[in-house]
Amino acid sequence: MAHSGIQEFRLPDVGEGLVDAEILQWYVGPGDRVEVNQMICEIETAKAAVELPSPYAGTVHELLAEAGATVEVGSPIIRVDDGSGGGEAAGSAESASPSGDAGEEKEKPLVGYGEKAASTKRRPRRRPAAAANGSGPATAVEEPPAPEPAREKEAVAPVLTKPPVRKLAKDLGVDLRTVEPTGEGGLVTREDVRRAAEGPAPAASGAPAAPAEAPAAAPAAPAVDRSALEERIPVKGVRKRTAAAMVDSAFTAPHVTEFLQVDVTRMMKAVRRLRERPEFADTKVSPLLLVARALLTAVRRHPEVNASWDEQAQEIVLKKYVNLGIAAATERGLVVPNVKDAHAKPLPELARDLQALTETARAGRTSPADMTGGTITITNVGVFGVDAGTPILNPGEAAILAFGQIRDMPWAHKGKLKLRKVTTLSLSFDHRLVDGELGSKVLRDIGAMLEDPEGVALAWG
């Protein structure tokens, strides 16, 4: 008997026909008070990232799935003590017993996830009347008697496997019926077939005795099992997308990277002066802002660098606008949101947009629309305390500028050795459409603007 007020919330199907969802984060933990409709977690399905509101008011008793876990629709994800302990919980269809007897609780299925809990079990059918002691022959339905499921399986159950594995078995002359399946749900895997083909006799079907028979090929090496010292992290979410984008970019666009060291002492002074200007009063002015503006100006002078390669059409697409991407390291990984139409923005607006974009990214709230349509990107590797890198292009873009740390360096200045603020710029470009000459011009131009921001003030617009 359920004699406490503990309510379970099962993962609903929030999108018509979904089978599972990943829990991105919990907003509550055990002991927290929750109200009805208070958002308790964020989940990501194949269709959308959505927040789930609590159907109960009470105290969180237990979280039943960790952030990062993929949970099947219909599985309980949280228990909430609604304080009705001892009550009869009349009228509450969800007053499921939290104790182990999940099998037969016979609760009303919530809309949207159907009969999940019972999916592995068939509802028992009545025996056809004729077989059941002939008690009611007249009412026998005409359909053929349902065969006993278990016996049917023994007699004619086909071997479960995939077509390519069937083919492999056929090619290797392996009778699938003799293969011990190790796959999920009794599936015969490719490895099972191989093992059966190599193995001495299918008779040894008891314990997996194979390791014992392994010939001592490597005699001395003690078989240390290092797997205990390894952690396996499933690849998903932002990491998965980043990996796909990197592979896509690195193996389609031939990358070239050029470097330039720049004396940015005067640029740093310009940054300080900008900070005092009223139009930047409520905005963060950072060196990144001036690097961004320098890049935008360079794009205006050399529009060919703000382009993409259309493989299918065999065309180079010159973009007459700049959606300026900024690579940002966030808790969830690398995201590259972009400032739309950055080319047309006056400096204060660009500053505000850059600030908003990085804050949104840090808060993990960057929308996918903010991340698409970029035309050229800046990555600020200086924040990690390094000088330079060979950045990989954001897919579909022709150039990416890495901006290194700014540090004091001995520098030849006006014929003397001085301590100056120096940074390193690295520009990677897609060598299919950007030649070394163009790439070098762009990089030199950016460098010149940062070296002497006031001197080229006219160009800053």
């Binding site: 609903p12 018509e16 809309v111 996918p368």
Partner: protein
Amino acid sequence: MSDTTAHDEPELVQLLTPDGELVTHPDYPLEVDADQARSLYRDLVLVRRVDTEAVALQRQGELGLWASLLGQEAAQIGSGRALRDGDMAFPSYREHGVAWCRGIAPRELLGMFRGVTNGGWDPDEHGFQLYTIVIGSQALHATGYAMGVQRDGALGDDGEAVIAYFGDGATSQGDTNEAFNYAAVNNAPVVFFCQNNQWAISEPLDRQSRVPIYKRASGFGFPGVRVDGNDVLATLAVTRAALQNAREGNGPTLIEAFTYRMGAHTTNDDPTRYRASAELEEWKRKDPILRLRTYLEKQGLADEAFFAGVDEEADRIGEQVRAECRALPDPGPLEIFDEVYAEPNVHIDRQRADFADYLASFEDAGAEGGR
């Protein structure tokens, strides 16, 4: 190629600015007293609350789907309030605010989205047809119904008018354009009320039409007007005038209520995948409820106690909707056969009997095969 879209700037009928200032329009005079303004405000807040609760219920597994009206409250309450008792409305599936005006209880709306009924209410009793999921087909139904009204001779100052609701996406459908043409040539007493919420799921308006939607009407030969759909007063005035025009036998009007879908297309959809957050922020400043509240406050037509009272009432209704939704009865398994034909049908009867036998073949089956 010349740009065929280069017309003058579309005119937008507006009586209440986003800042809550009342303005006048020569063609749409409207007298609104304090009571009416407060009552409109109350409706806007309550339908938004019902909608919010329904979205939450879907996220909790209590509804299979929900199409949120967030942002479109004024377009719906304004036009819904313009209808008279004898008028007939043909909704799509998002017209929860119009349903509210037609006296349909929120729980009746939830039944279909919970999957426990195929309809939910009696269309004749409320002058509000069942929700139509197929995009734009109700424009034809409304036109046919309006032609019936015409043939019944039910026109005149006290006559009946018909209104069809659809979205910007439906204007790309053949059905809608056929309805425009039929209504025009038959001079049918129908108002086509298009809530242009800027997005047909993920397709923006500029991918759907090269001309402003209301201008399509002129090609079919009837008037079209664009109204600020986030302005409940203008929507009320424009819809009332168009209905009256239809009632008096002067034929159809296309109203384009210019509004914005602030939420997802339905609970299945994630708008952050295709539209920039800045756009939503821009429309939040034009929120239909906010501007009416500003107006009421500025004019001293309502005090804090009034607003707090409406909010309290909204929360009560939210709780009530939640309780009623969970209490909606599941239909029996044989009811699926009941509404297929109006009259007895031998094939359906046989299928019903077969299905009843099948249900009874389970060991744990009850008397009627239900579970």
